[in-house]
């Protein structure tokens, strides 16, 4: 067997091990128990929503497409469920066109149905509008200029959900869950102009980029990846997809740590030989 063939076979063995480490905990999910934890940055968001009085308005910008759905949907569902449980009025929007169809509408209608909330009264879904930063700037001046109609073409001015709201300055909280640049846009345009408390949710890949904004208090809290969604599910005591996913994730993490150690040992042995 040549060196290249050995490398290919080793690669397949690693893929196989990772596949097993994923599938076995998924199938035997109920037999695995993990401790409940929550980090301060995630709890900050929970505490803020918890502190809001009933009927307060919040805005949620859902800016991801199906390719990040597995990672971010549980996060939005947990946040939305919490907001509905607290009887907050929620405005859903997106500055990412790929999120406009299935993702935004599907998540809102699914959670609203479960929480028995009414469209136009307890929540509203805005249609996609191009111009991301321009839209957020408009929201900081006049929400009805940016969104005269909701996604069903109903006039937003007439909706009870918008009562007492003129711009995002009247919102008690804004949350952007994104798989792209939307969080940056919300920090630069939304937070600077709207001055409302801003929380961010993002994919794990992007999470470290936003920690500096926590230190400067431009972000109230940060939810990075599926782990943060699982923590939020624990906080609201509604364990779901994210909590279940932590089990295979823990097993694969352990496997990767072992593989990294083995890889390093082999590297050092080979270096000594040469």
């Amino acid at each position: 067997m040549t060196k290249e063939q050995r490398f290919t076979v080793t690669r397949w063995i690693i893929f196989g091990l990772v596949a097993l480490a994923l599938i076995i905990p998924i199938v035997y999910n109920k037999y695995i128990k993990l401790p409940d934890t929550s980090s301060r940055v995630v709890k900050n968001i929970y505490d803020h929503i918890e502190s809001l009085p009933e009927g307060s308005s919040i805005i949620m910008s859902i800016d991801f497409d199906p390719s990040s759905d597995e990672e971010l949907r549980p996060m939005v569902m947990a946040l939305l469920w919490h907001a509905f449980k607290k009887n907050l009025r929620v405005i859903g929007m997106t500055i990412w066109d790929a999120a406009a169809g299935g993702t935004l509408i599907d998540i809102f209608t699914t959670v609203a149905k479960e929480a028995k909330k009414q469209d136009g009264v307890d929540y509203a879904i805005m249609p996609f509008k191009p111009g991301s930063s321009a839209i957020i700037l408009m929201l900081s001046q006049d929400i009805f200029a940016a969104y005269p109609q909701d996604y069903k073409k109903a006039e937003t001015r007439d909706m009870p959900v918008f009562k007492g709201v003129k711009s995002i300055r009247d919102m008690k909280f804004a949350m952007c869950v994104s798989a792209g640049q939307a969080v940056d846009i919300w920090i630069v345009y939304g937070k600077e102009k709207g001055k409302m408390p801003l929380g961010a949710g993002c994919t794990g890949v992007m999470a470290t980029d936003y920690y500096p904004y926590l230190q400067s208090k431009q972000l109230l809290g940060l939810m990075g990846g599926l782990g943060a969604a699982a923590q939020y599910e624990v906080l609201i005591d509604k364990r779901g997809t994210a909590t279940d996913s932590m089990k295979p994730q823990t097993v694969v993490h352990a496997l990767i740590i072992v593989l990294i150690i083995i890889g390093n040992i082999i590297y050092f042995i080979n270096r000594q030989k040469t």
């Binding site: 893929f15 596949a19 920090i187 470290t208 279940d244």
Partner: protein, 260 residues
């Protein structure tokens, strides 16, 4: 739980394409390419339709047609809103100018649109970006180290940030040769960056696993009786097809090799 025929069809399609894409883990093959091209094609097609039905038609064509109808004296189902006026002709013209990129002779006209976009975007972005990403970010490094409401941990935190910012900036300071004290401080900067890269790598692993877990969970669910064992059947079919294609390519290889 009752599964509708549409859900079963969706599951079979999703399983098929997921396995086609995952087949790349074995090696590049025609089934992976088929899945990849379908994904790119569908995304592009969906993007065009989304732009037309969510933006161009409701925000430009429809309001403009209502404006013209009103000027021609036709009866409208509801009065014109403040957004519906002839100013909409400006984005229409700018949009049409963008399409002149397709013509080598008229392509220069698109520069007007680009100039407009760059001008407005820069005007809006520069002051706010400087404020949010520079001044606000400098604040944590300028916090007092000691004071009435400042705990020991907060002092340590501020010091860590201050040392990190200064040392990383010095690492990227190329006007001075990295020797002596500069070298030592730059080394601290490297240490900070390594910690940052490590955290980013850890998060990236978690993110990729999350996507794989999501897919695997669905594949396990679709392997059940409700979905007519979609995952199991399609896994066998796709593995069989790849093996067949492999055999066919191996048969044709000796002839190719003989020429080389």
């Amino acid at each position: 739980m009752t599964v509708t025929p549409m859900q079963i069809l969706e599951a079979w399609l999703a399983v098929g394409f997921t396995l086609m894409i995952y087949s790349f883990l074995y090696k590049d093959n025609p089934l992976f390419k088929l899945g990849e091209y379908m994904y790119v094609g569908l995304t592009a097609g969906w993007g065009v339709c989304s732009a037309w039905f969510n933006v161009v038609w409701p925000d430009l064509i429809e309001p403009l047609s209502r404006v013209f109808k009103s000027y021609l004296g036709a009866t409208l189902d509801k009065p014109l809103s403040h957004n519906e006026n002839l100013l909409l002709l400006i984005p229409l013209i700018l949009g049409i100018l963008m399409l002149t990129r397709f013509s080598p002779k008229l392509g220069w006209l698109s520069r007007y649109t680009f100039a407009f976009i760059l001008g407005t975007a820069s005007g809006i972005a520069i002051p706010l970006t400087v404020s949010a990403n520079l001044f606000k970010q400098m604040e944590p490094t300028l916090k007092p180290l000691f004071g009435k409401d400042i705990s020991a941990w907060m002092t340590v935190n501020t010091l860590l940030i201050l040392i990190g910012v200064v040392s990383v900036l010095i690492y990227f300071f190329f006007s001075l040769e990295h020797k002596g004290i500069i070298k030592k401080v730059a080394r601290i900067g490297i240490f900070y960056m390594m910690v940052s890269f490590g955290a980013a790598f850890g998060y990236t692993v978690m993110a990729r696993e999350s996507l794989a877990i999501g897919r695997m969970t669905k594949l396990v669910k679709w392997a059940g009786q409700d979905y007519y064992y979609a995952s199991i059947i399609l896994l066998v079919v796709i593995a069989g097809l790849i093996a067949l294609l492999e055999m066919l390519s191996k048969k044709s290889k000796p002839a190719d090799d003989s020429t080389g």
